[in-house]
């Protein structure tokens, strides 16, 4: 497994663009196809914006972003120190309901993540870190 730490340190909303670019660069360097790279970059955007906006409520907070790649899969793991939040326990939303005039479009980001990855997992460490990992099979 080829593992690379993309980032470790404080983040806010203004850092997400650069972290997307660093992730894309790392994935492309490892020879991943455009579709896999683009999909995982979207996952990074969605999950980091979730952490920054909800876990850290717009303030700066600690984050670690790691990418693991082998012949059959690419895996992104993101750690944060926000309140416990298990992405695997979030209910899927019905997209058909999102576009009705009365609908609240929250949850779109997590739904997008679900549809772009083959597997996701979550763990919470005793020292207060959430770790969410997103795996996509490589064709």
């Amino acid at each position: 497994m080829d593992s690379i730490c993309i980032y470790s340190g404080e983040v806010d909303i203004n850092d997400i663009h650069d972290l997307r670019q660093h992730t894309e660069h790392a994935l492309k360097q490892r020879g991943l196809d455009d579709d896999t790279c683009a999909s995982l970059v979207i996952v990074v955007e969605e999950w980091l914006s979730n952490i920054v906006n909800y876990a850290y409520q717009g303030k700066k907070g600690e984050l670690e972003l790691k990418v693991d790649v082998n012949d059959s899969q690419a895996r992104i793991c993101i750690r944060d120190q926000g309140p416990e939040f298990n992405i695997t326990s979030v209910k899927a939303i019905q997209i058909k309901d999102v576009n009705s005039p009365d609908a609240k479009p929250g949850g779109l980001g997590i739904e997008l993540i679900r549809r772009l990855v083959d597997d996701l997992d979550y763990s919470r460490s005793e020292d207060g870190w959430n770790q969410s990992c997103f795996r996509r099979n490589i064709q």
Partner: protein
């Protein structure tokens, strides 16, 4: 350097007088968690000035996330309240990926040709 989104606005009238005025918002750059408010603000501004038909040109978007779709969705709801609609023009590859993944391409009319898109806003009698 952070994300950038350039929004240019033009107004179009179809060939015949029955066709309504359509405002085209051409987006270039990244429609993400830090730029979606720019689109939302611009859309709110033109809707408050009596625009109800909006065509969003997505050909220049090299990235879009759910926040961007949310902004388009909000804009769509605002135009519906005025009896209008939002339609999409020439989604880039990045845009198509997200639209299709979430099934939004089924909820919005998507065009590849500007003239056909403008004409499609013609009221049905």
């Amino acid at each position: 350097m952070g994300s950038t989104l350039n929004i240019s606005i033009s107004t179009h009238q179809g060939d015949d007088k029955l066709t309504e005025t359509v405002t085209v918002l051409s987006l270039k750059g990244e429609l993400d968690s830090s730029t979606y408010k720019d689109l939302q603000a611009k859309a709110e501004e033109i809707i408050s000035e009596d625009t109800k038909n909006i065509l969003i040109d997505m050909s220049g978007l090299n990235f879009i996330g759910s926040a961007g779709l949310r902004a388009i969705h909000t804009t769509s709801n605002s135009t519906k309240e005025k009896g209008g609609s939002v339609k999409l023009l020439k989604p880039s590859e990045a845009s198509q990926r997200v639209l299709k993944t979430l099934g939004f391409d089924q909820f919005f009319e998507v065009f590849q040709d500007l003239d056909k898109a403008i004409d499609s806003f013609k009221p049905v009698h």
